[in-house]
């Protein structure tokens, strides 16, 4: 079995780990987080050379049904089919991981503190795996702070709040309390803020090392953009549950998404 001190680097190697766990313990070896924001689907297919969304003649078009995307999700579904990977939603998967029903949890760094504070075992982190020698792509997502008020005094107050939220002090608290990497330079490497914390927390350090691989999270444009991401998630669940063939299901979903984002521009 794999040595936790030199973890695998590719999905294929992780699959072997999962197989070894299955053979030895009779339990699925890995859990890839499954949650309706599609973070894990997007990260996986884009690490296999696919794109969620493309641009055609100035219009946004769904491209998550490319052969590379289908290949990536087939790999995931294959692990589920062979009982190497757990197919449950994130809350259940986290419970399974923390109660040692599954050995490896593919998760966003945003869950670091939750897992570290709750795990009753020695939790170790590894870099996100690659498909063979392909370039990995890690989706960066977070939250937006938006000010709607028309009143200039309220706008100023709201902006002060935004500045406070993004101050190095607040980001230090935020990173320590969640795991999210700080969204501005000069916080992680400053000994006044996170430098010591990251040095002592290898999981957070791995996330910092992977910063060069990040690309923005895909939001589908237009007023039906959020419904479009549900269409993608439904398709992902259909494939993972073995209810539909990967390429057909993704193509059907892409058609539906294209109807929802029709006429939305792109850059």
């Amino acid at each position: 079995m794999a040595d936790p001190n030199s973890p695998p680097g590719t999905w294929e190697e992780w699959r072997e780990v999962a197989q070894a766990v299955r053979d030895k313990m009779g339990k699925p070896g890995v859990y890839v987080r499954l949650v309706n924001d599609n973070w894990d689907f997007e990260t996986m297919i884009e690490s296999n050379g696919a794109q969620m969304l493309g641009c055609q003649d100035g219009n946004a078009v769904a491209t998550f049904d490319s052969p590379e995307a289908a290949e990536a999700i087939e790999f995931w579904a294959g692990m589920i089919e062979e009982d190497l990977c757990l197919n449950v939603l994130d809350v259940a998967g986290q419970e399974a991981f923390l109660s040692e029903e599954v050995a490896v949890f593919f998760h966003s760094i945003s869950g670091r503190e939750t897992l570290q504070s709750q795990a009753g075992f020695n939790l170790k982190a590894a870099p996100y795996p690659s498909f063979g020698s392909k370039k990995r792509s890690i989706t960066a997502g977070g939250n937006n702070l938006v000010v709607f008020s028309q009143d200039s005094a309220k706008r100023e107050a709201a902006w002060k709040f935004v500045e406070h939220m993004l101050s190095p002090e607040s980001l230090t608290t935020w990173t320590k309390g969640t795991g999210y990497v700080p969204p501005r330079n000069g916080v992680a490497d400053d000994p006044k803020y996170l430098a010591d914390f990251i040095r002592e927390n290898p999981a957070e350090a791995i996330a910092m090392e992977q910063l060069e691989l990040i690309k923005p999270w895909t939001s589908f444009p237009g007023p039906k953009g959020l419904q479009a991401s549900k269409v993608v998630f439904d398709a992902v669940q259909t494939v993972l549950g073995g209810e539909g063939q990967a390429q057909d299901t993704l193509s059907g979903a892409a058609e539906e998404v294209n109807r929802m984002i029709e006429g939305e521009g792109c850059t």
């Binding site: 339990k27 699925p28 309706n36 009982d83 757990l86 197919n87 449950v88 939603l89 809350v91 259940a92 419970e95 399974a96 109660s99 029903e101 709607f148 007023p223 039906k224 959020l226 419904q227 549900k230 998630f233 439904d234 398709a235 669940q237 259909t238 549950g241 209810e243």
Partner: protein
């Protein structure tokens, strides 16, 4: 003591006004938190709106028209009916039967049975849902038990064939005890002398149940049945939100949860309001129908 005429008059005025004063707090609450929001939702169902934009586009009955043209809506509607049927079984028939049975058991264990059946009701819904998540895990308690009889590997919450039923069971488990308690209270309130008189006349077993107990229990039966129908979707809401999000691929969705998704996840306030109005009409019709039966059966002597 001398009381002036004017004061007397004022006092009579107050006396006439007094009942309304007492009603004020309750009706104010109803108007502010129930009727006013319902009126607002009715208005919003005629618009397209994303919840924050100052611009609302009037679309008339367009939202209703697109619901009727969407096969996904009818699927969710049908699934809502499944939730109601599950609730009618688990939150009406089962508690009623259990109440009849435990009352017959008698003896010193009656209290123990009653407490055991009622206990899940005091468990917080969210905590109950997480408990069931553990039971439903592929490696969880339920599959471990089933593997003893040779059934294995059912992914209860993530399989489109089992997700809805799995959620329905949680809602039953959580609320059945309360309805059981109401049925039991209704049964205890059935006048003993009626039962004695019936027994003297030779009514036993099924005859006693069918022609004496059930008619006397009718108000309770109808109340519990009505609650089971009306609460079927609200009771399923928290387990759905925590465990399946309506999935996989809408397999455990229902009209109430879809309304929530459309309004607060997709910000399609117009369609969500139209769905809410459809739900209101359907449940309202069920309530009116049941109240009419209730009115007829409230009098014992027909």
């Amino acid at each position: 003591m001398h009381v002036g005429k004017g004061r007397n008059h004022r006092r009579r005025g107050f006396r006439q006004f007094r009942p309304y004063l007492y009603l004020l707090s309750a009706s104010l609450f109803l108007v502010v938190f129930i009727y006013w929001p319902v009126a607002q939702v009715a208005g919003l169902s005629l618009f397209q709106w994303n919840l924050i934009s100052p611009a609302r586009t009037f679309v008339g009955f367009g939202n209703f028209a697109s619901l009727l043209g969407d096969p996904g809506f009818f699927r969710v509607l049908l699934q809502s009916l499944w939730y109601v049927l599950i609730a009618l079984f688990g939150n009406f028939l089962v508690p009623l039967t259990l109440a009849l049975l435990t009352l017959r058991v008698g003896g010193r264990y009656t209290g123990a049975y009653q407490s055991l059946l009622f206990t899940p009701t005091v468990v917080a819904v969210s905590v109950g849902a997480l408990l069931w998540q553990w039971i439903y895990l592929p490696s969880g308690l339920l599959n471990s038990v089933l593997s003893l009889v040779g059934v294995s590997g059912i992914n209860w919450l993530n399989n489109p064939d089992t997700a809805l039923g799995a959620i329905g069971v949680i809602a039953i488990w959580n609320y059945m005890g309360f309805n059981y308690l109401i049925c039991l209270a209704g049964l205890i309130a059935v006048p003993r002398d009626y039962l004695e008189a019936a027994r003297v006349d030779g009514a036993v077993g099924w005859t006693l149940l069918r022609w004496v107990i059930v008619p006397l229990l009718m108000p309770t039966i109808l109340f519990v049945m009505l609650t089971a129908i009306l609460q079927a979707l609200p009771y399923a809401f928290v387990p759905i939100e925590i465990l399946t999000k309506g999935g996989p691929s809408d397999a455990s969705n229902n009209l109430l949860y879809k309304t929530y998704q459309d309004a607060f996840q997709f910000f399609q306030v117009g369609s969500a309001s139209a769905e809410a109005m459809v739900l209101l009409a359907l449940l309202g019709a069920a309530a009116v129908w049941q109240f009419r039966i209730l009115d007829r059966s409230l009098t014992y002597d027909r």
